[in-house]
């Protein structure tokens, strides 16, 4: 899932991921991001930091606090300017951090890695069970 208010970034990111084989859902602000999370339960969420109606960091905190949200791998996306925010995001529970401008291949790579982590986690109990 992509939570991003900037149309251009959202569409491009979605396109990149669709080509790589992912199903993509988009939310345009923090509020709807939380709603869509409930509804779709994505494996990976790409979160933009600056969004209206609950910014990225707040969404991050809320998702992490919710038990169901603990599964989701979160990749925080931000402009090249906000290096300081990276620290906060990591501390608040983000799994990875990507800075714009990014190379499409890089994005796919990272998302794939995060998705694999989730699959792993889901797989293991099943194996044991």
């Amino acid at each position: 899932m992509i939570a991003e208010d900037d149309n251009v970034t959202a569409l491009l990111t979605a396109e990149v991921l669709r080509r790589a084989g992912f199903a993509v859902v988009r939310a345009t602000n923090g509020e709807s991001a939380l709603e869509e999370m409930e509804r779709h339960r994505p494996r990976v969420m790409i979160l933009d930091i600056n969004m209206p109606r609950r910014d990225g960091l707040e969404v991050l905190r809320i998702v992490r606090r919710n038990l169901a949200g603990a599964q989701v791998r979160i990749l925080v996306l931000s402009g090249h300017a906000q290096a300081d925010i990276a620290e906060r995001a990591r501390r608040d529970g983000a799994d990875d951090y990507l800075v714009k401008p990014f190379a499409p291949a890089e994005l796919v790579d990272r998302v794939r890695r995060l998705a694999a982590l989730v699959d792993d986690r889901i797989q293991r109990p099943r194996d044991e069970g």
Binding site: N7, V8, E15, A83
Partner: protein, 372 residues
């Protein structure tokens, strides 16, 4: 009142009435129209985006598709979409986007606007050119470095820095150095952008030692904030600089960038004559692993005359668990009231903001409880 003044009043009233009336109408119409225009422009950009998205990511025919879109939605909308896309996508695709921008004439249009007589238009054009990339844009930006408005010059410098090529950066820096009307904020933001876009070149600049201490301080801070680890040698070198403010900044960021090799110098700075240098050194040591020498030195700082030094030293001591805690506990049980206060505050804050098991042990230990 005479009838003359009444007539005057009448005229005045009529005049004002006319002004009021026309300005109201103008305001309402302007608002409605510009709102409609804005909505239409956004819609067009969105539609153009949908058309172009796939091609932007990996299409070869981006140029021809862009031309098609420009005919349908207007060159402005397509230009805007492409520029914004270039802000997000890096690498080869960025080059493709630049080529597309040039082919639909966006770069040409911006170049023309860049020589407009209206300052605002020039400045916006230069900003947009900074987003376009490519040689054509770069040349226009270089020309703009000599513009008579500082805002345009500044936008041109930012654009050249973003361009990233050595030559562009060199020219931008030369322009910056030659700039006479700069205040602190503008200088800071120049370095901030520089550090983010081309940290290696900035380090190179520092190496050549051509800047004065105030500028070096800004450069160090920018590199520190951007967490450029390649700046570490330069920062370490400035721990022994002559200018105290520069020393303090270097100390602060040596710690932030976790440079172990700086530890001895930082410990040395804990006895610096200037209080802010000592405070910065104490703060810098916070994130570095503590050797016995470090701990000892920080412990001495707990009795420093400056509140900030004491506070930072206590905070540093509280970061890494036991050896630091022991020193703080001694301070709490000791005679020096200032050291006691500082140690207290640090431990109390730590207790409140972390859930390390060590802390509970400290809080529960008899000495601490007794003096609570």
């Amino acid at each position: 009142m005479t009838s003359a003044s009444t007539t005057l009043l009448l005229l005045g009233t009529l005049l004002l009435g006319a002004i009021a009336f026309t300005s109201c109408i103008a305001l309402v119409i302007h608002h409605a129209v510009s709102e409609a225009v804005r909505v239409r422009r956004e819609r067009r950009a969105d539609e153009a985006l949908v058309l172009l998205a796939a091609a932007i990511i990996d299409g070869e025919e981006l140029c021809s598709l862009a031309a098609l879109a420009a005919r349908r939605f207007g060159g402005d909308a397509v230009g805007e979409v492409l520029r914004r896309a270039r802000n997000d996508i890096a690498g080869d695709r960025a080059k493709a986007i630049t080529a597309a921008l040039e082919s639909i004439g966006e770069v040409g249009k911006l170049q023309r606007l860049a020589s407009s007589r209206n300052t605002a238009r020039r400045r916006t054009a230069i900003r947009h050119l900074g987003e376009c990339g490519g040689d054509g844009a770069r040349d226009a930006l270089q020309n703009a470095l000599g513009d008579r408005e500082w805002e345009v010059r500044r936008a041109a410098r930012d654009g050249l820095l973003s361009d990233g090529r050595d030559e562009s950066i060199r020219v931008a820096v030369a322009s910056y150095v030659g700039e006479t009307t700069q205040n602190l904020g503008w200088r800071r933001s120049f370095y901030a952008r520089f550090a983010l876009v081309a940290p290696a070149q900035l380090c190179g600049l520092l190496q050549r030692a051509t800047l004065n201490p105030a500028e070096e301080k800004l450069a160090i801070e920018a590199l520190g904030h951007a967490r450029s680890s390649i700046a570490i040698p330069e920062i370490r070198a400035r721990l022994t600089a002559g200018d105290p403010e520069l020393r303090a900044s270097a100390a602060r960021f040596a710690g932030k960038l976790r440079d172990l090799a700086s530890t001895p110098s930082l410990v040395q700075l804990l006895t610096d004559p200037d209080w802010f240098v000592r405070a910065a050194a104490a703060r810098g040591l916070e994130t570095l692993p503590k050797t016995p020498t470090t701990l000892l030195a920080l412990g001495t700082c707990l009795t420093d005359p400056s509140w900030w030094v004491r506070s930072n030293a206590a905070r540093s001591l509280s970061r890494d668990g036991e050896p630091g805690f022991a020193i703080l506990r001694t301070a709490i049980a000791g005679d020096d009231a200032y050291a006691r206060d500082a140690a207290y505050a640090a431990l109390a804050t730590l207790r409140a903001t972390t859930v390390e098991p060590n802390v509970e042990a400290v809080a529960a230990s008899p000495e601490t409880v007794a003096t609570c």
